[in-house]
């Protein structure tokens, strides 16, 4: 039996016989592919879906409307009106008085404590701020929207259920009664939460905001961009346009490719040992964070910039050299202007990566609990992704929402950056 002795008919019969099985395999294989793609997209949707479902509500916050009496006896019994006295005043008492006025029937210490628990401790800080800003309001009445406690907020946002047994809730039945009463006359409701973007960190979820982390990230990225873009472009120009092909440049090249794949935490170790340990730079500072992230993003930017330079056709270089331009003039006048959009794209992508990076920042101490918004590059600061890490560790239910909120802010920035990169690339791609 030999295939040359087989007739065409015999061969075709064999082929036909195999077809059904082979097409079944074909369909199965194709199905695996579709399933894999569907799984991937499913993960994207699920990930973003859960984050947004948990975090979108952060932009609204529960406020209680109370009529505050700025009682001179409480605020400034001596009547001096000097700021030191006003700051030292017990503004908490004003809030409590207003609550008692609203619920005159509540009596007994424990019941009152439950009533006071409705309003955030931040409310008194707000009152203090108002009094210090304008001492003339002392003695007057004012109706204000004050921050409610995070437990109240969670109930209003239906993140905790009132149907749960009382001992599993952080709100008692009586407190829920207060809440319902306030809601019924419209003095407790969800309002736009500007504080989330303008406050620094806090241990109270209802007061905690992302401003500190936002500024910290901005300062860190500024340092990173200022250092990594010029150095990265310079390195790319050298390697692509000037470097002779020899052992040294080979080593540099292999080195850059490997550096791009070194785990980011190792860069953190480097930063800790050299910048902080050896050079004695301050811990937790955006300056050091910027240095570390520069080293981290440099390979990305170099690789992207080299690709941009490679994409410039050699004919342009030859034309410039043919005119008697020096190599540097050729690069500066002709090649670089054409390659800059590609380099910027690479830089933006590098910056986006740096913005999302947290492990190296943990190493250099940018994880401290910092209430103050940093005002300079050597102030202690944290960054957006690190804020995610910090808040995700906290037990309060309300911090889950806050954490998702930071993630949404972070993702928005990343989306904007990446979209810019894509637009830039599409706009300037191959204009010669």
């Amino acid at each position: 039996m030999n295939n040359t002795t087989k007739t065409a008919e015999q061969t075709q019969a064999l082929v036909r016989k195999s077809l059904a099985r082979r097409y079944r395999a074909e369909r199965r294989f194709r199905l695996y592919g579709i399933a894999a793609v569907a799984a991937g997209i499913g993960f994207v949707i699920f990930l973003f879906g859960t984050i947004f479902a948990q975090g979108a509500s952060v932009f609204r916050q529960s406020y209680v409307q109370l009529t505050i009496v700025y009682d001179p006896e409480t605020i400034d019994p001596a009547g001096t009106r000097v700021p030191e006295e006003l700051v030292a005043a017990d503004d908490q008492a004003l809030v409590r008085a207003a609550l008692r006025e609203r619920f005159p029937n509540v009596e007994g210490r424990s019941n009152l404590r439950e009533l006071y628990g409705i309003v955030s401790s931040a409310a008194s800080i707000e009152l203090q701020r108002r009094v210090v800003a304008d001492p003339s309001i002392i003695g007057q009445r004012e109706t204000l929207w004050l921050l409610a406690d995070d437990t109240v907020d969670m109930l209003l946002k239906e993140k905790v259920w009132r149907s749960a047994p009382e001992d599993e809730r952080r709100l008692s039945d009586q407190q829920i009664g207060f809440i319902d009463a306030l809601r019924a006359d419209g003095t407790l409701k969800l309002r736009f939460n500007a504080a989330f973007l303008s406050n620094g960190d806090s241990r109270d979820p209802e007061q905690a905001g992302v401003r500190g982390a936002l500024i910290g990230s901005a300062l860190t990225l500024l340092i990173t961009l200022l250092l990594s873009f010029p150095i990265g472009v310079g390195a790319a120009i050298y390697l692509e346009e000037f470097a002779p092909r020899n052992r040294i440049t080979d080593v540099i090249e292999i080195n850059i490719n490997n550096l791009a794949a070194v785990p980011s935490i190792v860069f953190g170790l480097l930063g800790l040992a050299t910048f902080i340990g050896f050079f004695g730079m301050p811990r937790s500072a955006p300056l050091v964070g910027g240095f570390v992230l520069t080293l981290l993003t440099l390979p990305t930017i170099i690789i992207a910039s080299r690709a941009a330079l490679k994409a410039v056709p050699p004919s342009i270089r030859e034309a410039a050299l043919g005119m008697g331009a020096s190599r540097l003039q050729m690069v500066g006048h002709h090649v670089l202007p054409l390659a800059i959009p590609g380099m910027l794209t690479g830089a933006i992508i590098g910056m986006a990566r740096a913005l999302g990076e947290s492990a190296p920042l943990l190493m250099i101490g940018m994880v401290a609990f910092i209430v103050d918004v940093p005002s300079g590059i050597t102030d202690p600061a944290t960054a957006l992704p690190v804020q995610v890490f910090l808040w995700s560790d906290l037990p309060e239910r309300a911090f889950v929402e806050r954490t998702s909120g930071v993630i949404i802010v972070l993702l928005l920035f990343l989306i904007v950056m990446n979209a810019t990169a894509v637009i830039l690339r599409n706009k300037f791609e191959k204009r010669w």
């Binding site: 295939n3 065409a8 064999l14 195999s18």
Partner: protein
């Protein structure tokens, strides 16, 4: 398949000079059009391909001869945006018929490409691949036999019999191309399409392939696209001249080269353009 295929009538609008029909053709193509997106690459081509003979397709670059060749085993299916119209019959059955399975079609109509493209497998596996996927061999011994015969018929056996397990890519260009031919005949096709099979080879390797084509002609219908008129003259019995998507002239190879009827054909053959 055994029934004598009738030659379908050629549309009277056909402007092709010469005899497009042959008795008992393997392929009958009528009014074939090919479009790549907006580009009309092949225009109303009518031609028959006969058994046990070599049809050479010649013409200047971009004239559509390769495109037409790829219609015959529906390789154009893999190109996005390519569209084939008209009728192409293999043994009297339209190859674009829904009942025609493209896998089976390609098992009947093999193809050898311009650049040798052995798979990244051993020499043995390269040849055994087709019989394996089509289930042509019942056991290992039969598969060995098929590989052996195919390599012999492709004239490669003596050169590779001691190193069947070496990768196919380790062979020289000419050997690789003969390996590709062996790979094709291992499936026992009825027609072999060759798309400039020698253009990447040196003259000695080319001569071996041409000899091989001549031997294979006894068992298979062969359709070869070539850039070289000498090659067409050496290996083919019929020649078709394509120009800008039109099939200008078809005829006996001797006649085409000695006494072309069409002006365009004559200009091409006498080297006025190419």
């Amino acid at each position: 398949m055994n029934e004598t295929a009738k030659t379908p009538p050629v549309a009277p609008s056909s402007k092709t000079i010469g005899t497009v029909t042959v008795p008992e053709p393997v392929f009958s193509c009528r009014d074939v059009d090919v479009f790549y997106g907006d580009k009309h690459a092949i225009k109303k081509v009518n031609i028959d391909i006969g058994r046990s003979q070599v049809l050479a397709m010649i013409g200047p670059s971009g004239c559509g001869k390769s495109t037409f060749l790829r219609c015959l085993n529906r390789m154009n299916d893999t190109i996005v945006g390519a569209r084939v119209e008209g009728m192409i019959q293999l043994d009297g059955h339209d190859i674009h018929d829904k009942r025609q399975d493209v896998v089976q079609l390609r098992a009947r109509v093999g193809m050898v490409f311009q650049k040798p493209n052995p798979f990244p497998k051993s020499i043995y596996e390269n040849v055994a691949y087709g019989p394996r996927i089509h289930g042509l061999a019942a056991d290992r011994a039969e598969l060995d036999e098929i590989v052996n015969t195919s390599l012999r018929r492709a004239g490669l056996w003596e050169e590779v019999k001691d190193r069947l397990n070496n990768p196919g890519t380790s062979l020289s260009g000419g050997q690789q191309q003969r390996l590709c031919i062996a790979r094709t005949i291992a499936v026992n096709p009825e027609v072999i399409l060759m798309d400039e099979p020698c253009s990447a080879l040196d003259p000695i390797a080319t001569a071996r392939i041409e000899d091989l084509i001549d031997e294979l002609r006894e068992s298979y219908a062969i359709c070869i696209v070539t850039h070289s008129m000498q090659q067409a003259a050496r290996v083919s019995q019929r020649t078709a001249y394509f120009h800008l998507g039109d099939l200008v002239e078809v005829g006996e190879t001797d006649k085409i080269f000695t006494n072309p009827q069409a002006k365009l054909t004559e200009d091409y053959i006498t080297g006025r353009f190419g």
